[in-house]
């Protein structure tokens, strides 16, 4: 059997194909890695957004309710109600409702403490 000499063009083709294959593998790995990082960043961003929302609501609650000397006006109550629902957190909403529905001063004090505790716990680090 005669050994045919391999043409130079064939070698070049093989090299090119190998290079392209290596490139594909490299970019696939990079893509996978970046996708992972992007997911991490997305989670971090979501967490940050939630933190900001909870923090804003807590500030509003302290400033407009806890520090209020008089009745809280309907505009502020509307803002608070919208803000608490915008948090999209059932636990907070439920605790907020408990506070709103308080029938006695002692109960309101207890629910305020629970609400503040819950809000602070919701702010992740």
């Amino acid at each position: 059997m005669l050994n045919k000499p391999i043409a130079l063009s064939t070698i070049i083709w093989i090299v090119v194909v190998l290079l392209l294959l290596a490139g594909n593998i490299f970019f696939a790995i990079e893509y996978s890695s970046l996708k992972g990082k992007m997911n991490e960043n997305k989670i971090a961003l979501e967490s940050q957004t939630i933190n900001d929302k909870v923090s804003d609501f807590t500030k509003l609650f302290i400033e407009k309710v806890l520090k209020a000397d008089d009745e809280v006006d309907f505009e502020t109550r509307l803002k608070l109600e919208n803000a608490v629902r915008n948090l999209d957190d059932r636990e907070i909403l439920s605790q907020w409702q408990k506070f709103i529905d308080s029938k006695t001063e002692v109960q309101a004090q207890e629910e305020v403490k629970n609400l503040l505790e819950l809000l602070v716990n919701k702010i992740s680090h």
């Binding site: 309710v65 000397d69 109550r77 919208n82």
Partner: protein, 809 residues
């Protein structure tokens, strides 16, 4: 001269001419003012308006006075040339009118002044026509300014003086506007003979950019008022500023730097940017800085409302419309409120949910981002029950089936406007008209009791007991403001010194009177030494939990006499010496105060009560001992030897009460064991202990005021002490002034400096002795070799000089 050169020269001259004249053009009116076209009137109580700004009147105001004519429709022309100005705007002298006679510009109870804004204020008086008032909406106003209100905006300086002592200077030759103030009268710069020099750094540097800041209305995004407050900040090097809404600062004036400026924004709603430039006193200007705010003075309006004529009670009430972009609309209906927000195009939607049948009034109140509230729009909502469609009755098949009545046709949809019907949003969030009880402002939402419990709670019981026991401690706490539980933290790093028994009475425990014994505090361990005559200074620390700990410091191997008075009859009192650690804590607490409380103690309790039997934790128990009360006075004593090895120990005293109910109590006394002192001689970097050295301690006898050999026998000790091979010695002495003396064969006598002992402290300095011929030990072969080489060198120099002298001869 070439043509090109001539052209360049001409351009330079033109530029110099133009720019040289600009200040004169801009500020010329500040020294020779006229009257504006709007604000030009004074009011005569009997003659009506007097116009100071007529074209033909040609009124001018200068530093020296007024000129021209004012015109009254009633009395004609009034000649002003004799009205004088003191350059600060205080007018005097008389105006004259052919029909009114003289008008005094500086009468008693009156007078006319032009203020720093150029406004005429005050009143003039005519004998014939009475008062002429310069106040009101259209009072005369000029662009002339009092001399003190004119701030220089440009300066021309003289040439630099000749260089002298490395400095040269120049002064202001002229400045504009004329008669203005401000600017540095003299500039100096460093120079050197033969040229050079340059501005000193402070003259040549512009204001520091990083320190410059401007905020409109404290950084607000919107304002509804043209009048805003600018907050400016700049470094110490800034003296002037210029403010404008034009970045090119055309026709702008300069003012002394102020941190707060009231500013009127230009007319017309929209985004407004205020630019500020700062200047040093030498005229160097900063880069431009700015802040923006949106001026919105127009309240929003509900432009469109789209809703059906009526809704069925089983469907959501949905409406939409248009208003100002991003405005909020508060909706009020059926005793509740809701809020919706318009989008960027001003389109808003509201889903009020289902309503029971009836007629409702819906109020819509728009409010824009700036806070402008628009007019309330009221619309009616009509809710109807949906008609029930009757089932067709069952009929025999033979009969002709009656026709089923047709469903009532749906009401025609109202004609919708051009805007696209938006998607129905979820039901609007509402709050009831009446605030819930928790928001009516009648309740304290934060429990004052729990706050008081924390902030104003009294000191813990054991600390209060301490205060009762040691009245001086109470005073100290009062002085440093320790009154509440939250103050306990202040005591964390503080060591208090409790008084001992002998330091007050001067007597050993056994010789105390029955009265003193009676008043002795219970459950406190008193540590003593030297036939009970030396009290150890008992340190008292309070940890973060508010628990107190006693601490003493003694010297290894010394005898300690411990005494305790239990608060209740005891079966036994046992003691344990427990090893804590070799390492003595380095951070000793700072001493807050020495408490020399009297022994008039009240009954109290320092010990920790133990519900269960006391368990000594698993530590190295070195000694176990028992307290005894041989004389039956209620005070239990024990004598133990302090551990030999230095370190931190604990003496745990456990009281086993006779009463089973009381159980046991324990008291812990932290005991720091210091090493003994020693006498040594230094050899190189090492220390050699000196044996057979005699160590004396002398004390200052307060009666004779002389130092005497301390009477150690009285305190169960020896003085002097002779060291063994370890060179060790130690004394436990009471409070006083002392000094040490050491005698050893082959060494000069050591006599230390005097020192003070506060209370029951151990003397354990390490004393270095130096041999009589100590300096001989310094000389070794290296030193000797160096000395020989040095001597040879000297000899060599000597030989050279001698030879040179011979050659000269």
């Amino acid at each position: 001269m070439s043509y090109k050169f001539q052209v360049v020269s001409f351009k330079i001259i033109l530029l110099v001419f133009v720019f040289g004249l600009i200040p004169l053009i801009v500020f010329g009116s500040a020294i020779d003012g006229t009257i504006g076209s709007t604000y030009k009137y004074a009011w005569g109580e009997n003659i009506g308006w007097i116009n100071f700004g007529t074209t033909n009147g040609n009124v001018h105001i200068t530093d020296s006075g007024l000129s021209g004519y004012a015109l009254s429709e009633t009395v004609g022309w009034i000649y002003l040339d004799d009205v004088a100005n003191d350059s600060e705007g205080n007018l005097s002298g008389y105006a004259w009118g052919e029909n009114v006679g003289y008008i005094d510009f500086n009468p008693t109870n009156g007078g006319v002044v032009i203020n720093s804004s150029g406004e005429f204020t005050g009143s003039a008086l005519s004998e014939n026509i009475g008062w002429i008032i310069f106040d009101g909406d259209y009072t005369a106003k000029t662009d002339w300014r009092p001399a003190s209100a004119r701030v220089c905006t440009s300066w021309t300086y003289s040439d630099w003086s000749t260089c002298s002592d490395g400095q040269q200077s120049r002064s202001i030759a002229s400045s504009s506007p004329a008669g203005c103030s401000g600017g540095s009268p003299t500039l100096t710069r460093s120079c050197s003979i033969g040229g050079g020099g340059g501005f000193s750094p402070e003259v040549s540097l512009p204001p520091q950019q990083e320190s410059l800041k401007v905020l409109i209305n404290n950084g607000d995004k919107y304002t509804t008022d043209r009048n805003v407050v600018l907050e400016l900040s700049a470094g110490d090097d800034v003296a002037y500023m210029a403010i404008s809404e034009n970045a090119d600062f055309v026709n702008n004036s300069y003012n002394p730097y102020k941190e707060t400026v009231n500013w009127e924004l230009s007319d017309g709603d929209g985004s407004k940017t205020v630019y500020v430039k700062f200047y040093t006193q030498y005229g160097r200007e900063s880069d431009l800085i700015s802040d923006s705010i949106i001026l919105d003075t127009i309240a929003p309006a509900i432009k469109e409302i789209n809703l059906k004529d009526y809704f069925y009670s089983d469907e959501d009430v949905f409406l939409f419309g248009k208003t100002e972009e991003l405005a909020e609309i508060t909706l009020h209906w059926n005793k509740k409120y809701g809020l919706v927000k318009a989008d960027n195009q001003g389109v808003w939607t509201a889903n009020l949910g289902k309503l029971s049948a009836g007629n409702y009034s819906l109020e819509l109140i728009p409010k824009d981002m700036a806070g402008n509230v628009g007019l309330t729009k009221i619309v009616s909502l009509r809710i109807k029950e949906k008609p029930v469609v009757p089932e067709p009755p069952e009929q025999p098949s033979t009969l002709e089936q009656p026709s089923i009545p047709e469903e009532p046709s749906a009401p025609e949809e109202p004609e919708l406007p051009e805007i696209v019907v938006p998607e129905k949003p979820p039901e609007i969030i509402t709050v009831p008209e009446e605030a819930p009880l928790s928001m009516q402002g009648q309740w304290g939402l934060l429990s004052s009791q729990s706050i008081n419990n924390f902030v104003l709670a009294p000191l813990p019981k054991n600390i209060k007991d301490l205060v009762k026991k040691f009245p001086e401690l109470g005073k100290t706490f009062e002085e440093v403001g320790i009154t509440k539980i939250t103050d306990v933290g202040k005591l964390k790093d503080v060591e208090l010194n409790l008084p001992g028994v002998a330091s007050i009475s001067g007597l050993p425990m056994g010789k105390l009177s029955a009265q003193v014994k009676q008043q002795l505090p219970t459950d406190v361990i008193f540590a003593k030494a030297g036939k009970e005559l030396i009290d150890f200074s008992i340190g008292l620390t309070i940890n973060e939990k508010g628990e107190s700990q006693q601490k003493i410091t003694t010297i290894s191997g010394k005898l300690l006499q411990l005494a305790i008075k239990p608060d209740n009859p005891v079966e036994t009192i046992k003691g344990y010496v427990v090893f804590n650690s070799r390492k003595i804590a380095e951070n000793y607490p700072k001493v807050l105060g020495n408490l020399t409380a009297s022994l008039m103690f009240a009954d109290s309790n320092l010990a920790k009560e133990k519900e269960k039997s006391v368990e000594i934790e698993e530590k190295l128990v070195l000694t176990q001992f028992e307290y005894t009360d041989s004389d039956g006075d209620g005070i239990y004593t024990a004598e133990i030897q302090a551990p030999v090895i230095e370190g931190e120990y604990e003496i745990i005293t456990v009281m086993d009460y006779k009463s089973i109910e009381l159980g046991q109590k324990e008291i812990r006394l932290i005991t720091i064991i210091d090493p003994e002192g020693y006498v040594y001689e230094k050899i190189g970097d090492k220390e050699a202990r000196v044996s057979d050295a005699t160590v004396f301690i002398f004390w200052l006898n307060p009666d004779t005021n002389q130092y005497e050999l301390w009477p150690a026998k009285k305190y169960q000790q020896e003085n002097p002490q002779t060291t063994n091979a370890t060179g060790k010695y130690s004394f436990l002495v009471p409070e006083g002034s002392y000094y040490l003396k050491v005698e050893a064969s082959g060494y000069p006598i050591y006599e230390g400096e005097s020192f003070e002992v506060k209370e029951g402290s151990g003397i354990h300095f390490n004393i270095e002795l130096k041999g009589k011929y100590w300096w001989l030990k310094v000389i070794d072969w290296k030193v000797i070799l160096s000395l020989v080489v040095f001597a040879l060198l000297l000899y060599n120099f000597y030989r050279d000089r001698k030879r040179n002298k011979k050659i000269k001869i």
